[in-house]
């Protein structure tokens, strides 16, 4: 089936449309009376239905169709929005998402949706199926929503309404022609819908489809015989159009004739005076699904100026660029050595240009974190209903952009944290009231940029972390010893819940305690080069704060020398570098510490940590110290000398050496040597 080539586009667009539906529904729940939201949802659902029908995913289009019916009922105020209705609708969206996912994985998107379909039907039938509308506003689409009315598709004449009339007149003024096109498909055509789709594709390239009989809706549902009629505004001539349409296979016949808008004017007027007017000499089929059609059309016409690029290509581009960054480093070094003015100038220029290029490539890979956040409101909503809680979830900074690779990885940890907050953090309304808090819990999901990092915060106003309980549990589970526990700060105690082998849930619940603790969250985030912190006040709430790097591939580092070896320390974790007199180093608890701007900072000698072979035993009078931080804690890394700051390409050590202590990766320096990247987080306890 040639629709395979459209599959990627189909999946992407379906996801987008589902997202629109999803967002719209949640919005609608907050403002049940805002019918413009319904319109928006309807449009997205409609597009989805059309596309899935075209692609032959019947179950998907069926379910969407049922959903659409309910939405239509809501739109016409036949069904009122309440949380039961929302439940069913959101549930359907979930099914739709599953189906789309199935299709994306190569399945056929078929699923047993009997329950939800019958629920949708029940909602729809909750009111009498509308035949007549009393309200003026609803009047216009009355004829169309009753899709079951007999079709007279063989009719070869068309009428236009006021709006379309205006468009047609405008087109004439602009010098475009209006054609009435009748397309007949050959009788043995198997994929009528696909052919219709292709014909529309062709037509939309040459102009604008103003109207079709049967409606686009019906065409998509294959509710027509062998032919259909279209009014098209175009600047192409008849012969060209004819040739173009005939190129679509299985089209038997195309007749094109100029459409006389003026002649229709009188009909239109008559129509307005009497709604059921069929007194025209032409026999008519009043198919007026304008609101739908126009909606669909506008969506297609309003293509924004973006293109879809396969992420693999971007990765390839990034890899090539990384190679270039390495060679750029080498060029800089050579020009420095040769000290040739022209060469230096050129190399500087190349450096600048490649710097710009790097920015562009990096931003190209950036996607708003919205993609990840989007699924949370529904998840929270569902969880709250399951758990009998009441939570108002707010999202801030969804537009914050992050590298695609980070986005792909961050979803699961966030799900985990949010489930955790809903399950263990926020109390039930009764419990909250008894504590003098408002019954509705608050949860804030917030993302923002700061420096070279993106922060994601999950804040709840729940019960907070019970430190005694945590400590007790940690001791019981052997995460810390009783002696150690006495010297822990509050923060350290909070962070115990992230330690492996720890789980505070009293009993294992469906929601969060599934044997996988928050340690998985921590390790995922750390594997992304990020970090996680917890702030919590018992009884008041908890904030999880995740710090993530903007990008994973190119980072700024400080190169330092330890004996004969070169190491790279990520600039993001460095506070400053200092040269300190040996005499200023103090001892506390048998550890070397320095007084750094009023803070006592422990020293970590990289020579010892990395077991660097000693070249000489000379004790120097000065220590070169790189002060790094992890959260609030600091440490001074003692090195032999500083080389300077450089942009490097982060490379992994490979599968064989994936877990080397305090080394997060490697990079290739300008001279071709490999330098290891220090994971300063691992050095701070």
């Amino acid at each position: 089936m040639e629709s395979n080539q459209y599959l990627d586009v189909f999946i992407d667009e379906s996801k987008e449309n589902l997202q629109v539906v999803n967002d719209g529904l949640l919005e609608l729940e907050k403002e049940p009376t805002n019918l413009s939201i319904v319109d928006e949802i309807f449009r997205a659902a409609h597009t989805l239905k059309g596309m899935s029908a075209t692609m032959g995913y019947d179950d998907l289009s069926d379910l969407t169709h049922k959903m659409e019916n309910v939405l239509d009922a809501i739109r016409h105020e036949k069904v009122s929005v309440n949380s039961d209705v929302m439940d069913v609708l959101l549930n359907s969206v979930e099914y739709l998402e599953d189906m789309t996912a199935d299709i994306a994985e190569g399945g056929n998107g078929s699923m047993n949706v009997g329950t939800v379909v019958s629920q949708l039907k029940a909602i729809e039938a909750g009111e009498a199926i509308p035949d007549k509308y009393t309200t003026e506003a609803a009047n216009e689409s009355a004829a169309t929503t009753t899709n079951d009315e007999p079709k007279t598709s063989s009719s070869n004449t068309l009428t236009v309404d006021q709006f379309e009339q205006t468009v047609l007149e405008q087109a004439k003024i602009d010098g475009q022609s209006v054609y009435h096109i009748t397309v007949s498909l050959s009788e043995d055509c198997l994929l009528k819908v696909a052919r219709v789709y292709m014909v529309f594709e062709v037509l939309e390239q040459s102009g604008e489809v103003i109207k079709s009989v049967p409606t686009v809706d019906e065409l998509e549902n294959e509710e027509f015989d062998q032919s259909f009629d279209i009014i098209l505004v175009t600047s192409d001539n008849e012969d060209d159009l004819q040739a173009k349409i005939m190129k679509v296979s299985e089209v038997r016949e195309v007749t094109i004739q100029p459409f006389d808008a003026e002649a229709n004017q009188s009909i239109q007027e008559q129509e307005q005076s009497s709604d059921e007017s069929e007194s025209d000499e032409q026999s008519e089929t009043p198919q007026k699904n304008e609101s739908n059609d126009n909606g669909g059309e506008q969506k297609k016409a309003a293509g924004n100026k973006t293109i879809r690029v396969n992420i693999e290509r971007l990765d390839a581009l990034m890899n090539l660029f990384e190679e270039m960054v390495i060679d750029r480093g080498r060029l800089e070094q050579i020009s420095e050595e040769l000290n040739h003015n022209d060469l230096k100038g050129t190399v500087e220029r190349i450096s600048r240009i490649s710097g710009d290029l790097q920015n562009i490539i990096l931003t190209m890979r950036m996607v708003p974190i919205e993609q990840v956040f989007n699924r949370f409101p529904r998840m929270v909503r569902q969880l709250t209903r399951e758990l009998g809680k009441d939570i108002d979830m707010q999202i801030e900074g969804a537009e914050t952009e992050l590298d695609r690779t980070v986005i792909d990885e961050i979803g699961d940890p966030l799900v985990h944290l949010i489930r955790n907050a809903v399950d263990h953090g926020i109390e039930t309304p009764e419990e909250r009231k008894s504590k003098g808090k408002p019954g509705q819990g608050k949860m804030l999901l917030k993302a923002f940029h700061s420096g070279n990092h993106v922060f994601v915060e999950i804040r709840d106003d729940g019960q907070g972390i019970n430190k005694e309980k945590v400590l007790q549990k940690a001791i019981d589970n052997g995460v810390v010893s009783a002696e150690q526990s006495s010297s822990l700060s509050d923060k350290q105690i909070n962070e115990l819940i992230l330690a492996s082998g720890f789980s505070t849930a009293q009993e294992i619940s469906d929601i969060s305690g599934r044997g996988v603790g928050l340690d998985v969250v921590k390790s995922t985030i750390e594997s992304l080069g990020g970090s996680i912190e917890i702030e919590s006040e018992f009884g008041k709430g908890t904030t999880f704060s995740i710090q993530l790097p903007l990008t994973l591939s190119i980072i700024s580092v400080m190169l330092v020398v330890v004996e004969q070896e070169t190491y790279a320390i990520p600039l993001s974790s460095i506070i400053e570098t200092a040269v300190i007199k040996r005499s200023e180093v103090m001892k506390a608890h048998n550890k070397e510490v320095i007084d750094f701007r009023g803070h006592i900072v422990p020293l970590v000698d990289l020579r010892n940590v990395f077991e660097v072979p000693k070249a000489n035993d000379d004790e120097e009078d000065y220590y070169s110290v790189v002060v790094v931080r992890k959260g609030d804690q600091m440490a001074g890394l003692v090195v032999d000398s500083f080389i300077g700051q450089q942009e490097i390409v982060l490379k992994s050590l490979g599968d064989y050496l994936s877990n080397v202590f305090a080394i997060s990766g490697a990079t290739i320096l300008g001279n071709g040597e490999v330098a290891l990247i220090v994971d300063s987080n691992a050095l701070i306890k």
Binding site: I326, F610, E611, Y656, L657, V660, I668, E673, L676
Partner: protein
């Protein structure tokens, strides 16, 4: 290892006084030794990592691996880049300078007495033109335990 590979060409390298063979299909390239960066706290036989045309490649010291004494690098010291399971690893050998056809039928199972070397590493022994070649089982040179050890160092 399939039968077809077994009677194919092998790259011959020297380690101490013995000659070893690895199937040519598994060999990516043979490199001169240069600029190996030591990886701290890695197992002893991991000599470090090297930049192999933009790819960070771990380097294994086969002398250390086989429990032989260390020697200074010489002009003939080479790194053979081998590909196992789609991953590249470099092994340091004393010399690598020959490609030999090993007919399948002359490969004999490894003798029981092989000193310190775990017999698992050895696929067999072949006598080709008065030379005794020890054919290595690459999968086993970095055996499962070794792989595990390598990826769980801390």
């Amino acid at each position: 290892m399939s039968e077809a590979i077994q009677d194919d060409k092998v790259i011959v390298f020297k380690l101490k006084d013995e000659e070893y063979g690895i199937p040519i299909e598994n060999v990516g390239s043979i490199e001169r030794i240069f600029n190996i960066t030591r990886v701290p706290r890695a197992p002893k036989f991991v000599k470090g990592v090297m930049n192999l045309r933009g790819v960070i490649t771990p380097i294994i010291d086969l002398r250390e691996r086989f429990g032989l004494e260390q020697i200074e690098q010489t002009e003939s010291t080479r790194i053979i880049i081998i590909n196992v399971d789609g991953k590249s690893i470099g092994v340091v050998v004393d010399a690598a300078n020959d490609v030999v056809d090993v007919p399948h039928d002359i490969v004999e199972p490894s003798p029981e007495v092989v000193g310190s070397i775990n017999a698992d590493y050895i696929r067999g022994v072949a006598k080709v033109d008065q030379r005794l070649l020890i054919l290595l089982n690459l999968d086993k040179v970095l055996s499962e335990e070794e792989f595990e050890q390598l990826s769980t160092i801390d």
